[in-house]
């Protein structure tokens, strides 16, 4: 077991609000509570299943394409459904693999931050998404104190 909690930012910083996950990960990297590890990547991948087995709790930080609020925070249940592309591996699938093959016992959560512009090939968040990032960070810091 590496540590208690891993925050895993997912997204592409060059696609506007898709960069919400890495942006929040960067904030926690700069000011990280004790016992929390931080990492970031473009998207989930197979080996993340192995990583999951090394933590008590993992929170995927990601942009969300829908929702009325600033963010959602939910626990993931494993689902072995098979995707049709290596370019789209979903959290329930990763959790299934982690549980079945790597004896992961920890919990997996997704913090989905509402984004709005995913089409532009540009760096930087939209103003609304940046505000959502603030709310998400405040919530997550509070959650971590209790985790």
């Amino acid at each position: 077991m590496k540590g208690k909690v891993l925050l895993l930012g997912i997204g592409n910083p060059s696609r506007k609000d898709d960069g919400l996950g890495p942006a929040l990960a960067a904030r926690f990297e700069a000011d990280c509570p004790e016992g929390v590890d931080v990492d970031a990547n473009y998207q989930l991948s197979l080996e993340d299943a192995c990583t999951l087995s090394e933590y008590e709790k993992v929170v995927i930080l990601d942009a969300s394409a829908k929702g009325d609020g600033a963010f959602t925070f939910e626990e993931v249940e494993p689902d072995p459904a098979k995707e049709f592309s290596t370019h789209l591996i979903l959290p329930p699938s990763i959790l299934s693999i982690a549980r079945e093959f790597f004896q992961a016992e920890g919990l997996l959560y997704v913090l989905g931050m509402r984004g709005y512009d995913f089409e532009s090939f540009e760096e930087g968040l939209t103003e609304v998404a940046a505000a959502n990032l603030e709310e998400s960070e405040a919530y997550l810091r509070g959650w971590l104190t209790e985790a």
Partner: protein, 482 residues
């Protein structure tokens, strides 16, 4: 915040909500008689890359282009670096730089193919794509082959460690720079990798055997599944050998006769054009000498097996010969053959890495060469999913003024549409999209493993949506994979 937070909730439907990339939509169009007239796989090619890259200094490009895709960043890194070699006037890299880049590339091929094999392909191959979906997933694999997933993850990890050692970083690698590389491989790194080669080879051979056995034992089912005759294209070495890092363009027709051969890829526009269709942002490449109707082609592992004369590593060559025997002298058109071909390339990549790791040039000191500056260049590489073309123009101030990319999935656009249409033709009954049809369409798309991250910019909410549209344009049915 208006969304309730339910940390205790156990139910969750993680729609792909949280990912904006990776969505496909299939529209099946029926004619007046209710027969399949056409199938359209909508993968929305991103727009805006040219704008993003224009105005940037050319030396930044090999790093920036990795943001195009989280699965194949190394392919974009190397294709861009190859173009920028030309820009800085270097036609031939030092042996150390060339071999470091090749090692990086074969590491990428190995980890990418391992990911596809375990995550997508192995459940289909072990249980058959017509079997119960409740079994045909990673849990089913776990029950039947408990070691397989660990092998898959470890093979992927090995490839990624090769990338880390050659590119310098897990993501946003900087190893390849215009004119060369910025590091060599230490003896310690080399020895660590060499120690793992025997185990990786055993697993790679096992993966080839699984793919081969499935294809051969189920040939009566898979031979016709999403299958049709086509042209094929890839790079080949001057002597006709498979070379995934560098070579010249070769294309063959459905009989195996050469349509293009020995063509320097810098002149790709002399041979390839792209057709625009009003229903798709993604273009449809075709060979100019054949026209839009007959000139489309497929790329990737299946194409490479058909196009090359031989593979220059012993175990993979034996496997290739077994594969091409399926065609009995003609190209193998079996779409499901992509899986077997992919595993042969996995083995070949491992053999190439072993050869490179034993080459003392990797410890050489000549990392970068320079030359006379040029203003336009093309870099092409055989990426895991097929031929990847990067084309740039650079002004006197070192700024990129034009960028044009043709990614592997774009080359395969027509082929994927035809496979989906074939499956729809064979499995659609009435005007209902059954779970079986949806499943078979997925299987057909999975064979190509389209690169959605680089090929799409559209946001969506479902991984795969299939709609059935009547001759009057009205939607008859719609089903979503959830």
């Amino acid at each position: 915040m208006s969304i309730p937070v339910e940390t205790s909730a156990r139910k969750i439907t993680i729609e792909p909500v949280t990912r904006v990339e990776g969505h496909g939509k299939v529209t099946i169009l029926l004619d007046d008689d209710g027969k399949v007239q056409q199938a359209r796989l909508h993968i929305v090619e991103f727009r805006g890359f040219e704008r993003f890259i224009q105005g940037r200094p050319f030396w930044e490009v090999p790093v920036i282009v990795q943001r195009l895709c989280g699965i194949c960043p190394v392919s974009h890194h190397l294709a861009a670096a190859k173009a920028m070699d030309i820009i800085v006037g270097v036609d031939e890299l030092s042996p150390t730089a060339d071999k470091m880049r090749r090692l990086m590339h074969y590491g990428q091929m190995f980890q990418s193919h391992a990911l596809h094999f375990f995550h997508l392909c192995s459940p289909d191959l072990l249980f058959g794509f017509g079997s119960d979906p409740k079994q045909r997933n990673v849990l089913g694999v776990a029950a039947a082959h408990p070691d397989l997933a660990v092998q898959g993850v470890n093979m992927r990890r090995f490839g990624q460690e090769i990338i880390l050692a050659t590119a310098g970083k897990k993501i946003h690698g900087t190893g390849a720079i215009p004119g060369g590389v910025n590091k060599n491989l230490t003896i310690e790194e080399r020895d660590k990798f060499l120690a793992e080669i025997p185990q990786m080879k055993e697993w790679a051979l096992s993966a080839v055997a699984i793919a081969k056995n499935y294809t051969v034992e189920n040939l009566s089912t898979v031979a016709d599944f999403g299958t049709f005759p086509s042209n094929y294209m890839s790079l080949v070495r001057d002597d006709g050998a498979m070379d995934l890092y560098h070579g010249k363009l070769r294309a063959i027709d459905h009989n195996g006769d050469k349509l293009i051969d020995g063509a320097p890829y810098s002149g790709y526009l002399d041979h390839i054009a792209e057709e625009v269709r009003n229903w798709s942002y993604m273009k449809f490449p075709f060979m100019k000498n054949m026209g839009t109707e007959d000139g489309w082609y497929r790329v990737g592992p299946l194409a490479r097996m058909n196009v090359v004369d031989f593979i220059d590593t012993p175990l993979a060559e034996v496997a290739r010969q077994e594969f091409v025997a399926l065609g009995a002298g003609a190209p193998v058109h079996v779409t499901m053959g992509y899986h077997w071909a992919r595993m042969i390339e996995l083995l070949h990549s491992l053999e190439e890495m072993e050869r490179l790791l034993n080459d003392p040039d990797l410890q050489g000191d000549e990392l970068v060469r320079t030359g006379e500056r040029r203003s336009e260049a093309v870099g092409v590489i055989e990426a895991p999913r097929g031929t990847l073309i990067h084309h740039y123009e650079v002004d006197d101030n070192d700024m990129v003024t034009m960028a044009n990319l043709i990614v592997s999935t774009t080359h395969n656009n027509e082929g994927m549409n035809r496979s989906v249409a074939k499956v729809a033709n064979d499995y659609l009954s009435g005007v209902e999209i059954t779970e079986g049809l949806l499943n078979h369409i997925e299987v057909a798309i999975r064979a190509y493993d389209p690169c959605l991250s680089c090929a799409t910019h559209a946001m969506g909410r479902m991984p795969l949506e299939v709609e059935l549209v009547g001759a009057d344009g009205k939607q008859l049915d719609r089903k979503v994979k959830d």
